[in-house]
């Protein structure tokens, strides 16, 4: 445990008045407030330090104890015990032992050691909302197609979240209360998760619609036929009308991507036909094409 010079933390002199302390605290709080320093752990730590320093120095009794023991704070309890022994004869035990109600998770070990214990909180401490955290989650398109659960590790804590189907690339969701704990018993910050959804080689997403390209041979394009294609939720048999032109696009209603947080609502699937021309014709095929061209 390291000794913390609270005067140094607040950038004030040892003989600073209550007003000086207040001013210094306000000045530094403005600089390191979590709302002004998003995603900045360093600033968050500093903010907790200045809160702690203010907690001690703005309270006359705590300041007295801190000033008295200074770097020898580790022996503070021993000194107190010895002093109590000396003064115990003929006296009642007085008070509640002084500094109580501090040493929460947002204070240093040094503070907890010196002022630790349970009890009421000081009225001079104002609660602040904890810092918001943000995190990124990488998904592939098929992950984003179905509602599923994932576990994330954010600042060493495991957070299990449900990712609704249809989440978009770059979309941010907020998990209230999953951020840093609020200093001075304030509310915890929030966790913002943004999604990075990688592209799929076959299924191209545009909003809630999916676009794919399918090859069709020349003969089927000219004479018509059927083809089974893969969609995101299974195979579909499509009828190809005779005389289908290259780049003709077909729309399959409701076969696209799920609409975010709208149950049973889907975008459309667009299928673009790529007519594949035969190559390396044999003699007979070539002759037949020549005959066709002369008809």
């Amino acid at each position: 445990m390291e000794y913390i010079d609270y005067y140094k933390v607040l950038e004030i002199k040892k003989d600073a008045s209550t007003d000086d302390i207040k001013k210094a605290y306000r000045k530094l709080a403005r600089k390191y407030h979590p709302d002004l320093n998003p995603n900045n752990d360093e600033a968050n730590k500093k903010f907790q330090q200045i809160n702690e320093a203010n907690e001690v120095l703005s309270d006359a009794e705590k300041r007295k104890k801190y000033d008295r023991y200074g770097k020898d704070w580790q022996h503070a309890d021993q000194f107190d015990a010895q002093q109590q022994q000396r003064q115990s004869q003929g006296r009642n035990r007085g008070g509640s032992g002084g500094f109580s109600g501090f040493g929460g998770d947002d204070f240093s070990d040094f503070f907890s050691s010196m002022f630790g214990g349970g009890g009421a909180r000081s009225s001079s401490r104002s609660p602040f909302k904890g810092q918001d955290y943000s995190s990124e989650l990488n998904l592939n398109l098929l992950d984003a197609y179905t509602t599923h659960k994932q576990t994330l590790t954010v600042n060493g804590k495991q957070v299990r979240i449900t990712i609704p189907a249809g989440v978009e690339n770059g979309q941010k969701i907020k998990l209230p209360g999953y951020g840093a704990p609020g200093p001075n018993n304030g509310p915890a910050g929030d966790l913002f998760i943004s999604f990075n959804i990688s592209e799929h080689p076959r299924f191209k997403r545009k909003g809630n619609d999916i676009h794919i390209q399918e090859e069709v041979d020349l003969y089927t394009a000219i004479l018509g036929g059927e083809k089974i294609i893969e969609t995101l939720n299974g195979k579909v048999k499509l009828t190809i009308p005779a005389g289908t032109q290259p780049d003709t696009t077909l729309r399959l209603k409701g076969k696209g991507f799920p609409v975010y947080k709208k149950e049973n609502l889907f975008g459309d699937l667009y299928v673009k036909w790529q007519v594949k021309l035969p190559t390396k014709l044999n003699a007979q095929q070539k002759e037949l094409f020549e005959q066709l061209s002369k008809l």
Partner: protein
């Protein structure tokens, strides 16, 4: 009424701020409100931002003009942080390739 709207009267009562504070924020373009049957509402999606303004206003005593400047700078900060994250991702990607 839209489900994701919150009455400004309720909001101000809960956070103990004057309705004029909300109006001033709107004048500075920091929030948007909706007027429905003479009652003012805010979108639930805008709550996080609005609560941040209130914290800065009450805890740090930053006035409306200051909030306007802070908001602008925070937007720039967010943009730059996102850009750094994207660039870091790209660097990691190319490092993996080599």
């Amino acid at each position: 009424m839209e489900a994701n709207l919150i009455s400004v009267d309720d909001f101000c009562g809960h956070h103990q701020v004057e309705i004029n504070f909300i109006k001033s924020l709107e004048e500075y373009g920091l929030i948007k409100t909706k007027l429905i049957k003479k009652a003012i509402f805010i979108k639930a999606d805008d709550l996080t931002g609005l609560e941040r303004y209130i914290r800065l206003y009450k805890e740090l005593e930053i006035n409306i003009e200051g909030l306007h400047a802070v908001s602008h700078l925070l937007n720039q900060l967010e943009f730059l942080q996102n850009k750094i994250a994207v660039l870091n991702n790209e660097i990691s990607y190319y490092k993996q390739l080599h």
